[in-house]
Symmetry: C2
């Protein structure tokens, strides 16, 4: 196949010119030290068995904040497998290497991954230590259960994965709210999996401003139009809930 690539920019018109200008600016040094920029230092905790979209949806959004750095962090550096064990994201830093973060995000996992993380005292200690100085401490899905296990949610309102709401409320001193995300002081918890994207846009508006968050929403073309209207557990049938959890469990290792 032949096609012209002499026009090297696949973005259009005047906006493309602006984008290229911005690229030029970045190339002059703004990103020379990707771990030491002037923007927010965002850390996402990976642990065995997390659900892939929980960290990656917010990472996509938050990485577009001006001068932001997003770092994947785990107990040890290296590839960390998701709940299906099919896919791995690389943790570039170990928890021992990270003392301070502007934003901490704890993703959720399947049952095994969540329970293991809840019982991993090294992870919980690190979460508490980072939380002491963080600007924002956040979670997606059952990540809020891990925050609760670390002792951060006592007496607070929070959300979590729909199927884990009863567990969160009955195990910890937490009031569950069935919302996409819940802010309680500097802690923001998101509902299941995809809710992390909504939460991240909200967080972007808090870190920067509404206009920046809206521009990020357009940058990731987040104008959701799912082909079905089946994502709200509050109105889902018991049969659909059971099928959803069966599919999850069968896909997880």
């Amino acid at each position: 196949m032949r096609h012209s690539t002499t026009r090297r920019n696949v973005l259009r018109g005047t906006v493309a010119t602006a984008a290229l200008a911005a690229t030029g600016a970045a190339a002059t040094g703004a990103h020379a030290d990707p771990r030491g920029g002037a923007g927010p230092n965002i850390g996402i905790l990976l642990y065995d068995g997390y659900s892939l979209l929980d960290p990656t949806g917010p990472a996509e959004v938050l990485s577009r904040l001006p001068d932001a750095t997003v770092t994947m962090i785990a107990e040890r550096r290296g590839a960390v497998l998701t709940d299906t064990a099919d896919v791995a994201v690389v943790a570039e830093r170990s928890i021992d290497e990270v003392d301070r973060l502007d934003v901490l995000l704890v993703p959720g996992a399947g049952n095994r991954g969540t329970v293991e993380a809840m019982n991993n005292e090294a992870l919980l200690r690190w979460i508490r230590r980072i939380h002491c100085h963080s600007r924002w401490t956040t979670s997606v899905c059952t990540g809020s259960i891990i925050l609760a296990a670390a002792g951060l949610l006592g007496g607070r309102r929070a959300t979590t994965y729909w199927a884990s709401a009863e567990y969160l409320q009955s195990t910890f001193d937490v009031t569950y709210l069935p919302q996409r995300y819940v802010r309680s002081g500097k802690i923001i918890t998101a509902a299941g999996v995809s809710a992390g994207v909504d939460m991240a846009l909200y967080l972007a508006s808090l870190i920067a401003d509404d206009d920046t968050a809206k521009a990020i929403q357009l940058a990731v073309e987040y104008d959701p139009q799912p082909p079905f209207d089946a994502g709200n557990a509050a109105v889902a049938s018991p049969q659909l809930k059971e099928r959803a959890l069966e599919l999850l469990a069968a896909s997880q290792v």
Copy 2:
């Protein structure tokens, strides 16, 4: 912090019982060979500079299809950096190791990554070879430009990232449709970044059925409620578009 983990299941009630039963079934061997199950064999092509959510959103959704395997594939095995160079997903297979796929998904990238992939004849040849036998050949964002560069979109209708629509139409024999996803025969293209999640649910309904796709939507709690309504380029102001592309370009290496 002390908390009871004697109740080892963070999912609730009767649905939890079903989920645990399914987990038990999986443990007996259904996932013994994660690359050789009876379900769809889904391959996602990674290349330097892809946008993180493009492959990971659909992977989250499609991995919940019964007996599905999701494999990240790249020119060479190993970690593949995103457009920000902050995050890497591991390619478990090289293109030389993969001859057949039920589903191929080509993600999009920033300008640099897209142009490099368009000019990578080894990648384009592999895409054409896989497409010969695939059940579904799909793309997210500027991934459709890569499909077009491989010669797969000639005379077809397709979608792409909003800022790349003009480039797609003027460079290739393609009719751009401003939709979340466009099906043309066995090719399905999605709009920018987050549109891959909508497309993946549609694809799940084609591979399985509507009820399964709805259960997956609930499994990932995809009941989108972004805090702003700014994701539709068709109604965005020129200023917002310019700002979106500036943020993208500044975040990309």
